[in-house]
């Protein structure tokens, strides 16, 4: 196995900063979506526990769902950017996409990714190593 290609540390850190923001925004957006879904289908679903029905939550849902969809797409694009800069394997890209679809997981996923970025920048050669030397 040849030595790994050097990473561009500056580009990697910039990409991670962007991914981090997207990760947190997506996490909050997903939680909001979960609340809306609970209100729409459980509290005002008209079945099982509660009998009341409210068209208000249908409307809220029809507004927020596409917005959340767009936020998730931006999240995926920024995850893809980070994944390319870090020269990670394909399974890790799928993992990053997966972080964004489970409520609350994206916050932990962001911390996990931060550790991976740090350890990889430590372990692997970077373009900036030569400048420092």
């Amino acid at each position: 196995m040849p030595a790994p290609r050097p990473l561009d540390e500056v580009a990697c850190r910039t990409s991670f900063a962007r991914f981090r923001v997207a990760s947190i925004v997506e996490g909050i957006a997903l939680l909001v979506l979960v609340v809306i879904m609970v209100m729409r289908y459980v509290v005002f679903g008209g079945e099982t526990w509660f009998s009341s029905v409210s068209p208000f939550w249908d409307q809220v849902s029809s507004v927020w769902s596409p917005i959340h969809g767009l936020i998730y797409m931006i999240y995926v694009v920024l995850a893809f950017d980070l994944w390319m800069k870090m020269r990670w394997g394909l399974p890790r890209m799928l993992l990053l996409m997966f972080f964004g679809v489970i409520p609350v997981l994206s916050f932990f996923g962001e911390r996990w990714t931060a550790q991976k970025v740090e350890s990889d920048l430590e372990r692997r050669p970077t373009l900036q190593d030569q400048d420092r030397a």
Partner: protein, 285 residues
């Protein structure tokens, strides 16, 4: 690059990505079908749903799945509970709809009001001497127990109100305040009205007009996601391939440099070095 792509690791990943793309494709077709649902589900014409009490519970919405289908009902018209809805244009004629409450007895013996659009008349036939619509000119409903057959329609959206027997729309939120509850949340439009009335044309909605563009959009999004998985696979193959080329080039450069320093001190010919340096590069560099 093909040689990199055909490695077991990348072939395995390709299989995984193909499954993901396939799932996205299925989801895309599902949304595509949903977008065309209105066209396919109503293609066979209105369905006979039978008695309204078996079709709709009080308080249940008249959904797109059943709106426009035919139902029957038995009950008595309430003589005092009738409104006219003016301002309609039916085939170029200014029309006034006549809507009367019908009392239907449900299984648990409650009397439920069902608004029945008994038909329409040209506006001039209902215009009084003062030039205003006069609800008292509308024909009275038949008395006693009657059986009706008609098209089930969803309530129209209320914009105005009811005053003096004139309603702005055939909207159950308006009528329930005028006549009282319980009331079905849709209305029945008579197939064959009697007494000189004309039958109403079928109501049109965004749904009944056909394609649902939101679902078309979702369908395209799934196609996009599916393509993205394949693109990811191709990117990872390409990255591996480019890394290997760069590694080989570095190895070659290092060897050349080594051979230069060797050449100055020994008799080895530098021209033989590149032939032995590193593995054979791919042809599609």
């Amino acid at each position: 690059m093909l040689r990199v792509a055909l490695r077991p690791r990348f072939l395995g990943l390709l299989a995984l990505m193909l499954v993901a793309t396939l799932v996205c494709g299925l989801l895309a077709t599902w949304q595509w079908d949903r977008a065309h649902r209105a066209i396919t589900s109503k293609a066979a014409g209105p369905m006979e749903l039978g008695d309204i009490r078996d079709v709709l519970d009080v308080g249940d919405a008249v959904t797109n799945a059943i709106a426009g289908d035919t139902v029957t009902a038995a009950g008595t018209y309430v003589p005092g509970e009738q409104v006219v809805v003016p301002g309609r244009n039916i085939g170029g004629t200014e029309a006034v709809l006549i809507v009367t409450a019908m009392m239907v007895e449900t299984e648990d013996a409650t009397q439920v009001r069902l608004p029945v659009a008994r038909g329409w008349l040209p506006a001039e036939e209902l215009t009084g001497a003062d030039g205003q619509i006069d609800p008292s000119l509308a024909p009275a409903p038949p008395q006693g127990e009657v059986e009706i057959t008609g098209r089930l329609e969803a309530s129209e959206a209320a914009s105005g109100g009811v005053s003096g027997g004139v309603a702005s729309e055939v909207a159950t939120p308006l009528l329930v305040n005028e006549w009282g509850s319980p009331m079905y949340s849709g209305f029945v439009s008579l197939e064959e009205p009697g007494g000189g009335l004309q039958p109403l044309p079928a109501a049109e909605s965004e749904f009944s007009r056909g394609l649902d563009w939101q679902n078309i959009g979702y369908s395209l999004q799934w196609v996009l996601f599916g393509a993205f998985f394949l693109y990811l696979w191709w990117r990872s193959v390409r990255a591996a391939h480019l890394d290997e080329i760069a590694d080989r080039r570095e190895a070659l450069e290092r060897m050349l440099e080594d051979s230069k320093t060797d050449a100055s001190s020994s008799t080895t010919s530098p021209t033989t070095v590149p032939a032995t340096a590193g593995p054979t590069p791919d042809k599609d560099v």
